[in-house]
């Protein structure tokens, strides 16, 4: 009778599963505590305790924003827009062949070409555009060209990855139908594959453009042009009211671009 009563209490896991889940959480907790201790080895806690005072002081200096400074920012905003847009175009042009080489159903060879294409995608995705910009500024000199190429290189991985996934998901019947007419490989791609991936492709491009606007606002911090250049120079001379205005302008740009891209993507689908 006692055994039966025990079974009546409902549990969401079996015994063994409960132990595994418990062990998993325990391991994560231990790891986090260990990392926390290691991370804070060099932390100067005095600065941390002092932070609220510093924050109050900083906010006091940042307001009100220097509104008239905006007249100097129009050119920088235009540069930022160009970095993002031209960078996206460059990235898309470079990503297109990479995606076709990486997709299992269009690649010429799964053994040799596909791994190379996948490696290109992985490297481009792992390295932030700010790091590319840092490198390119030492190579090409400061200016928006370095920014455009940095954004382009960073976009390859993102665009190519989403694009090759949508190429792999295409409907093969229409490919076979076109092939059965004796079409060449190029014609097959043009008439059977491109029409199927075009909406996805444009959607991906606009999505990436939105991300790139966001990223190009800070590339100026390392000298690659755009509004970030003004941000870093205003901060270097501790002109906090200017900094506030620049950050407000960046926020407004990001919000507008996000709104635009969401609107256009909804039109496409």
């Amino acid at each position: 009778m006692g055994e039966l009563e025990q079974k009546l209490v409902w549990e969401s896991h079996t015994k063994r599963k409960a132990w595994i889940v418990w062990g998993f959480w325990f391991a994560i907790t231990l790891l986090t505590i260990y990392c926390w201790v290691e991370m804070n080895e060099d932390t100067i806690w005095f600065f941390v305790y002092d932070a609220p005072v510093q924050a109050a002081d900083l906010i006091d200096r940042m307001f009100p924003p220097e509104w008239l400074y905006i007249n100097k920012l129009y050119k920088a905003l235009w540069d930022t827009l160009n970095i993002a847009t031209l960078g996206t175009l460059l990235g898309v042009i470079l990503a297109f062949p990479v995606a076709f080489l990486a997709a299992r159903n269009t690649t010429p060879s799964t053994k040799f070409v596909r791994p190379v294409a996948l490696f290109i995608i992985a490297s481009s995705r792992s390295i932030n555009s700010l790091i590319w910009a840092l490198l390119l500024v030492t190579i090409l000199g400061p200016g928006i060209l370095a920014g455009i190429i940095a954004i382009g290189l960073r976009s390859i991985g993102f665009v190519a990855k989403l694009l090759y996934e949508s190429i792999e998901e295409i409907n093969t019947t229409s490919v076979e139908a076109i092939e059965s007419t004796g079409a060449s490989r190029f014609q097959t791609i043009n008439y059977a594959i491109i029409p199927q991936i075009l909406p996805a492709f444009l959607g991906i491009m606009i999505f990436r453009w939105d991300i790139n606007i966001r990223e190009s606002t800070i590339l100026g911090l390392v000298g690659a042009g755009g509004i970030g250049l003004f941000l870093s120079s205003s901060m270097n001379i501790l002109a906090w009211p200017q900094v506030t205005l620049i950050i407000l302008v960046i926020l407004a740009t990001v919000i507008v671009s996000e709104y635009l891209s969401a609107k256009v993507r909804r039109l496409l689908i």
Binding site: C35, T43, S123, L135, T138, M235, E258
Partner: protein, 262 residues
Amino acid sequence: MRTWERPHYLVPDKRWRIALWIAFFLYLIVGIGSIEVNWLRVYEGLERGGRFVEGFLNPNFTRRAADIYSGIYESLTMTVTSTVVGILLSIPFGMGAARNISPKPIYLFCRSFIAVSRSMQEVIVAIFLVALFGFGAFAGFLTLTYATIGFLGKLLAEEIEEIDKKQLEAIASTGASWLQRMHIAIWPQVMPRMIGLSFYRFDINFRESAVIGIVGAGGIGATLNTSIDRYEYDSAGAVLILIILIVLACEYLSGWIRKWVS
């Protein structure tokens, strides 16, 4: 003889199509025209570009071994703590920002917190936090935590808004408390995707930790910045290769764990 033409999908009207293409090319001309390039400087830089490619292909792990090791170590510890704390904090923010389970004032507060966190670049946040908390990993930890709350909070809120209402009603009808309803009716529905997203965010946090070091918030970015500034492209190549390898390892691991969970 009429020949067949492939129909156009997006803009069927020919005039609109031509107008859009003209606008596009006009923008290209104006946009590319606005690039100012000092070709002499580019020509001089090409040699450095060659050295970078060479350095990337023959990375030097030894010259800055100590810096690289401590930088990667700091990046990893920062990533772990900020991801864990970020996930924990994103749960209340995500629940607060879900329209179907939270009252209006809390909803508005959480939504605007998430919106601000999402539209601020990590690097800009890091600059401010470094100014407030001093150089080092603690500022980086706070930056990444803040960014994680925005990212996961928004996705969690969307996930909760899309749950199957019947389960919530069924559990509520048994007289379950608020906590029990959350735990038994909502958590199982959102958990699988949340685990996947958490690993994805871990990945992003690691990549970002390489960047915020450039503005002084700890991690591998500082090492990378010095080696690029000193034109030591072989050390920079070593750091970049380590970053790529760790990101790839994270991706594999998260794919494996996601399969295991589902």
